[in-house]
Symmetry: C2
Subunit: 492 residues, 2 copies
């Protein structure tokens, strides 16, 4: 991986000055096209050996281009807000919107690589993390992002030389920390781990560019050219997707049996039983929320279901068991402008609960494979890849300690019709029934197909779907509360 970056590349001053003059104008021009068209974000990772000038080239890019459209993120220790969220939260909150460039000094690679070098991260864990990173970057690329990953390389000798030189001058001595020398002593280990990490994550959509950093002029020029080329190619492609590579969704089963049809929607509870069970379950949930062990966890509930299946009522039965201080209910409607300028999962990341808290999503990221699929808002490749992206997303939540409870509330078409009519008659429920609801109803079969695919493709062991028979509201509410309690109890 580093062979070509230890050849002693260098550029003479005169050539450098001449080339830089051209390069700057071209970079600025390309950047302006990116800004004006606002079709995709540019994500640039500036990484490399200690002393290789990761920070210097960021300053340079800010000087060569228009700094108003560049956001620089120098990530060191996470803040306490970040530590109370899943690992990737700090990166998601900093993703640049379409049209802008985000430069990351310290990225999603840093923790794994240094962790592996110092033995805090095992080999198996590294493999898993790198595979996850690949899928994360692929998702970004599929959502349109241009990802430019730079690795500034120094040979062992060059690194020693560089650190010593920085230390010798008063103006730059502060840039060399004891940690840098400690890292230097592990140069060979660093090199081996990095080589593997770079190889495993050099994908077609987000390849690494390794740049020899011994000569600053060679380094700067190569960085500039690499970025410029990448921007040009991405601009050329425009809105066309990178690759069309989705197989179409499979057809319906030939015997018309599916997981929804198999539900016994006649299940119900008597008023008396319901009252008793409900109170018991609410007390149980309350106790769980205030269990000391829950402080290391958080809970995300996803409520999906047919229109009028009783999501709102079920949500209220859950929240009644909790203190309003520790939960948020997030209704998902059309994304805002800022949300549309980001990958579709971004709007859910921003609402994830801190440790010790609950977030209840009333509709969720599953819109991608339900309404967006059925209504054609998401093209086939987009919703077909979403299944895997969602599984990755949920896995990262669960791994961070979040209890994820996914509930599908199912009613029959007949029951829905009854409820629609009832809503139209009750004054303060009228707002709950719109023309959309009637339109969706006509597509019942397409929705049911989408629901079954969703269950099959996203019901995982750490984050299974729970199908709730909801023709009887009492039955549904009790089952919802039971499911939530059991899920939390499983982790405590």
């Amino acid at each position: 991986m580093f062979e070509s970056a230890e050849l002693g590349h260098c550029v003479e001053k005169r050539e450098y000055d001449r080339e830089v003059a051209k390069l700057r104008a071209q970079l600025l021009d390309a950047q302006m096209h990116v800004v004006e068209r606002a079709e995709f974000p540019v994500i640039l990772l500036s990484s490399g050996s200690d002393g290789s000038g990761k920070g210097e080239i960021v300053n340079l890019l800010n000087e060569w281009m228009d700094p108003r459209h560049i956001q620089v993120h120098a990530l060191r220790d996470p803040t306490d807000e970040e530590r109370a969220h899943p690992f990737m939260y700090r990166f998601w909150r900093r993703l640049p919107p379409k049209g802008r460039t985000g430069v990351f000094l310290g990225s999603w690679y840093t923790a794994s690589i240094t962790g592996r070098v110092y033995g805090r991260v095992g080999g198996g864990e590294l493999t898993r993390t790198l595979a996850e990173i690949c899928r994360f970057e692929r998702m970004l690329a599929d959502e349109g992002a241009l990802i430019v990953k730079l690795w500034l390389h120094l040979s062992k000798k060059a690194q020693r030389h560089r650190l010593a030189k920085l230390e010798s001058k008063a103006a730059t001595a502060w840039r060399v920390t004891p940690q840098d020398w400690k890292d230097y002593r592990r140069y060979d280990r660093f090199r081996a781990v990095t080589e593997r990490a770079l190889r495993d994550t050099s994908t077609a959509e987000a390849p690494w560019t390794v740049i020899e950093a011994t000569d600053a002029r060679y380094r700067n020029l190569t960085v500039g050219r690499t970025l410029l080329d990448a921007m040009h190619k991405r601009l050329e492609r425009g809105k066309r997707p990178a690759v069309l590579r989705a197989a179409p969704p499979p057809g319906a089963p030939v015997d018309a049996r599916d997981v929804i049809e198999e539900l016994d929607l006649s299940l119900k509870l008597s008023e008396a039983k319901y009252d008793k069970k409900l109170h018991k379950l609410q007390a149980r949930l309350h106790a769980l929320a205030y269990d000391k062990r829950f402080c290391d966890h958080a809970c995300v509930m996803v409520f999906e279901g047919n229109d009028a299946a009783g999501k709102g009522g079920a949500v209220r039965r859950v929240t009644r068991a909790l203190d309003a201080r520790i939960y948020d209910v997030v209704p998902i409607a059309a994304p805002t402008e800022e949300e549309r300028a980001q990958p579709y999962l971004w709007r859910f990341w921003r609402h994830l609960p801190r440790r010790g808290r609950f977030t209840i999503f009333d509709r969720s990221w599953y819109g991608r494979v339900l309404v967006e699929r059925v209504e054609g808002f998401a093209a086939e490749p987009a919703f077909m890849r979403a299944y895997r992206e969602i599984v990755d997303f949920e896995e990262s939540l669960v791994r961070s300690g979040i209890v994820l409870v996914k509930l599908w509330l199912a009613i029959s078409p007949e029951e829905q019709l009854k409820r629609f009519h009832a809503r139209e008659k009750t004054p303060f429920k009228r707002f709950k029934i719109t023309a959309d609801d009637w339109r969706n109803r006509k597509k019942w079969d397409a929705y049911q197909r989408a629901v079954c695919d969703m269950v099959d493709r996203t019901s995982t062991e750490p984050a299974p779907w729970h199908l709730v028979e909801a023709n009887d509201k009492k039955w549904a509410r009790v089952k919802v509360l039971e499911t939530v309690c059991e899920a939390i109890e499983r982790v405590l």
Copy 2:
């Protein structure tokens, strides 16, 4: 202030049940109108004596209304991200957007009131803070917000009784902390400070409602009714402003002399002098940014000026002196959808720098009194009140340790014309010149009038305007850097 809240109000169970049934339907109905119309946010402060049930009523409202449109903020200790920003940051970031309800348990009052009780806050400081709060709330109200401030009151006897009762039951004992008893021993002092705070901040636009909290049923019903009445009245008003109370801006001076005309735009620097000065100033700024004492501060620069006055170039001369890791450049264009759902200053609050960092605004909150005034996007009352709101905003930044540098780059109409033509000819500068620029140019006099008013009304001692003669770019850049350095040196 508390006379009517110590009468022993209470409601019988039967009456309560009957009234609550009605109230819930009405509250839900009103909330849905608020949500549907999305014209204003509802900001509800739930405050009061310890043990008065501030949290209980929040749970109740969440149950009576649709919790999907309510955000509850229980604020205790600020997070480290919040501590690195001005005091009001944590409240601004939690303001509900139009159509939603934000409930605050713990508000902008808490720190001053308890601080005063325990002697950490002096009497003069309390007076100042309360006056600031009044202006803050007035700004919110002027921006359309409905503010409902509830104070749940307990007499001394009732409080002792309440705390003891809570402590006696296992299920509620955790709610009574040693701090509560400590506060109780200071009941009289608390009462005196609170009485004054409530009186001073009971304004026409955001009055306090004091509610006797001894009897839970009386308390709940009164809270519900108060909120319902407030929502009804606010809904009735619709988009009409609360009061029309702005005097028109004063006319131009009769002798046509103004602060801009008085500038000597012929000031310039030779190339040689410029190079020398620039490098010296950049080194000086760099040293200041890395001065240890700067860690307790932050720096906000505001760049305003005529179109083509050279803001971008001046910004780049500043950023070149800094490491890209410690600054952000924020270009201000049209607000996004999420920003339009908030008071106009919200979008600037979200970009304020943490301690130790720089934020450079390329155009700023002054758009309100410049382009929005001239183009008529902001009505007269809106921009006339903006002067005062901006002064308050900037004062709170400066008080938190932020160095605020406001720069107006002035060029003559002739110089502007020359630059417009030059831009049209240079390929990678063409994006910099739009039809808007030509349109604005025709309104030169109106803009100049607005600039002079802005300088007169918002140049304060802690945050003065610096007018920069910018017909010569070199002169302007040097003056900008000088001004920034001097401003930082003044606080270190």
